[in-house]
Symmetry: C2
Subunit: 120 residues, 2 copies
């Protein structure tokens, strides 16, 4: 049945409020050299994001071929700007460029409508 995203019970999907809100789409490919420290930092960043004002949720999937997609959802541009400049997050971004990622693209996108479905 079709429902609101914030009525989806599965916690792997983000329970976002009605639009408008902003999506930060982070797609990446990992280095072949290994991911020492990545899991710890990724977990720390998820916990830290949850503490930020304006954070609405996040969704993440990592493919066996080394492709990763993480989408975080935010209330407004100010909350994104604050998160981008948060000190621990800036250090994690630097480690990502230096150690973990072969390539990545970050896209800032304004969500204006959404549809959800859940099998009952």
């Amino acid at each position: 049945m079709h429902i609101r995203p914030d009525a989806v019970s599965d916690k792997r999907l983000a329970s976002t409020p009605p639009p408008p809100y902003i999506a930060v789409i982070f797609t990446n490919t990992q280095n072949d050299e290994g991911l020492e420290g990545y899991g710890q930092t990724a977990g720390d960043m998820v916990r830290l994001a949850h503490e930020q004002d304006g954070f609405l949720g996040y969704e993440s999937a990592h493919d066996r071929d080394g492709t990763g997609i993480t989408i975080s959802y935010w209330r407004d541009e100010l909350s994104i700007k604050t998160w981008k400049q948060q000190a621990d997050h800036m250090a994690a971004q630097r480690s990502g460029r230096e150690k973990w990622y072969r390539s990545y693209i970050t896209r800032i996108a304004h969500v204006d409508r959404d549809y959800a479905f859940e099998n009952k």
Copy 2:
């Protein structure tokens, strides 16, 4: 080094042109009952999307925990509308609801800026 998304060489990331363009963010969780026919249909849909006017690219990752994220990028609202109503795609959406997905959320979002990085 920081580059334009359309200069990223890794084909797992979408070589999108400069914004504005539109992202269709499709996040889902799979049924536990199995995915008979899913791989064939998913491949067919990727090939079909590439033939649509206004299609700019797509990115996809499927996690071992059953979370899937697929993002397709489009030139404008008309190209999204046409794709949504394409007959074979409509049949695939129906199969997804009936057979493959436990839950999903589709979000339509207007990309207004992007940043890319590639290790050289």
